[in-house]
């Protein structure tokens, strides 16, 4: 366990005092990464993909995302906020784009650039790549934009890592673009420039601390979207609109909701899927050799896409409508600027430095014979367990419980039903023993045979 804690950073954490040991989270976790142990919902580090489903489902708000506080801004000379495209959906129509972006300057940032801008650059790069050199990647290509989905593939679908689009996320593209530009404009060292992502979800926090397929992240801190939204809504009347802030294009902003990404890529036959459990169904199909005629899959862990992230403030369906309205209003208005910016950047900034490797969960045993023995024991146990998946043992399913028992993490008597059987057996035994009366009581005992 200790080794794993060091190996994997996770932004999803448990506040022990708040956890009542209920079974909501263990059931919704898509990778069966949670067990209730001694009354608390513990996360199995190597399985967690930081999707945030447990945060969404916890009725006691005991699961949280660890993000950075605004205090961290003090560590940098020049601070830049890069709000996710989904931020656009968090405000009412009185909050204009200029108003929202100026809100970040009011908050203490020196500059701001929407990640929707980077998404606009990236969609140009992806289109070019998939039409050209990227045509060699096995179909369907799976987008790398949602880090929870990428982790899911690494952990549960390691055979599909080859299908992952080897490109950076809009967040990374925007961060790098803005940092290099600021270094040039201010003359500061890149280390003195802090880029902060305003995030809809915990998975983005994790991927900044532990980049996938990249040496480093250009993002220096991650702030929860709801905190920023709160601040801007509260202070909106005092926020002075600054003119001339670079803005995203309509299609870049639409990356904040499901379908926006595929709509912005200029190739045919694309699929968009959202909600981690449905994403799993689609990945199952791909693993079984299906969907080969699909060129690109946009898979997002949250229902509705990033607007459905657990760090969002607004209802995802309302947020989507707002994004659609704003995105349509902007349309192609900023496209000339985006084309110019795209022409001015080095194309390698869009690509991952390395391959996305598999990170499969540990098999039952490294020795195949032992693994087979354990598997047999699991199958046998599954046959004698009730199969009701009641969760009282702290495991999501009877099968997961059987696995834990065989791995020595649970004992058979952790199952309520097994324990009752055992107790029932003991009671029957006691009953039998009670019938054995001392010889002096023999006569009376015979009269009360049914004690």
């Amino acid at each position: 366990m200790d080794k794993q804690t060091v190996e994997y950073f996770h932004s999803v954490r448990l506040i022990e005092e708040e956890c009542k040991g209920c079974t909501h989270c263990i059931r919704t976790c898509p990778t069966e990464a949670i067990r209730v142990r001694h009354g608390k919902a513990r996360i199995i580090e190597e399985r967690c993909i930081d999707c945030g489903e447990c945060i969404r489902t916890c009725p006691n708000s005991a699961k949280i995302t660890v993000t950075d506080s605004l205090e961290i801004l003090k560590e940098f000379k020049h601070k830049i906020a890069i709000p996710a495209p989904s931020l656009t959906g968090q405000f009412s129509s009185k909050h204009t784009a200029t108003g929202m972006l100026s809100g970040f300057l009011h908050m203490g940032f020196d500059d701001v650039l929407e990640v929707g801008f980077g998404a606009g650059l990236l969609s140009r790069a992806i289109t070019e790549y998939l039409r050209g050199a990227g045509s060699k990647i096995p179909r369907p290509v799976i987008s790398s934009a949602c880090p929870a989905v990428v982790r899911l593939i690494q952990v549960r679908y390691s055979g599909l890592v080859e299908n992952i689009l080897p490109m950076q996320s809009p967040m990374e593209v925007t961060a790098r673009y803005v940092k290099e530009r600021a270094a040039e404009a201010t003359g500061l060292d890149e280390k003195e420039i802090g880029v902060f992502f305003i995030s809809p979800c915990p998975a983005k926090v994790t991927v900044v601390k532990q980049p996938i397929g990249a040496e480093r992240s250009y993002v220096d801190g991650v702030i929860a979207a709801k905190d920023a939204v709160n601040y801007i809504r509260k202070n909106f009347d005092d926020i002075e609109g600054r003119n001339g802030i670079q803005k995203a294009g309509g299609s870049g902003i639409s990356w904040g909701r499901r379908g926006g990404e595929v709509a912005s890529i200029g190739i045919p036959r694309k699929l968009s899927v959202d909600g981690i459990h449905h994403v799993r169904k689609i990945l199952d199909k791909v693993e079984e050799g299906g969907l080969k005629k699909i060129n690109l899959i946009e898979a997002q862990a949250c229902v509705g896409g990033c607007v459905g992230g657990v760090l969002m403030a607004e209802d995802p369906f309302l947020a989507k409508v707002k994004i659609d309205i704003v995105s349509e209003e902007i349309g192609a208005k900023n496209d000339a600027q985006l084309d110019e910016a795209y022409g001015g950047v080095k194309k390698e900034m869009f690509f991952l430095d390395g391959k996305v490797g598999p990170r499969p969960i540990t098999p039952l045993d490294t020795n195949v014979d032992e693994a087979m023995k354990k598997l047999k024991a699991i199958e046998w146990l599954c046959g004698v367990l009730p199969g009701s998946d009641c969760g009282s043992c702290g495991c999501p399913t009877c099968r997961a419980f059987a696995e834990d028992v065989v791995m020595g993490l649970s004992t058979p008597l952790d199952c309520q039903f097994k324990m009752r059987e055992q107790v029932g057996g003991l009671v029957a035994e006691i009953h039998e023993l009670l019938k054995k009366l001392p010889h002096t009581e023999w006569k009376r005992g015979a009269e009360n045979e049914d004690i």
């Binding site: 549960r156 390691s158 055979g159 199952d284 199909k285 693993e287 079984e288 050799g289 299906g290 598999p358 499969p360 969960i361 098999p363 039952l364 045993d365 490294t366 195949v368 014979d369 693994a371 087979m372 023995k373 598997l375 047999k376 199958e379 696995e403």
Partner: protein, 152 residues
Amino acid sequence: MSGGSDSEEKIRMQLPIRGGDFSKAGEASSKIKNILKQLGVSPAVIKRVAIACFESEINIVAYANKGQFSVDITTGEIRVLAKDEGPGIECVEMAMMEGFSTAPPELREMGFGAGMGLPNIKKAVDWMKIESQVGVGTELEFKILFGGGENG
């Protein structure tokens, strides 16, 4: 993977498959796939097993009334016997050819029946045998070795 077929450890499973129920199609294949992941079988081999199992499961769902997988897993290989009670295949040789399909139009509308089922299975497995009797059913048996690579 180490260990040969001489090892005594063996897992045997019977997985029933319902004909016509596309909403449940793929469940038996998924179960097999997950077990191999737990055994630490390589992703490339799992992919081949997944393809072969899924294609044969879909064949049963699409054409037969009912069927079942009899699965034998040892440390060195997986053997699947997919047996169904269904219409059978009139000419197995033709069915093995790419693009040849016996699927009725309604199945093709659902995206099945491209005539790639059996050829795809053949490509994925190390060994296969198919026996069919018209009006009775089909027995498809295949084997995949865990030590094999991408193309077996």
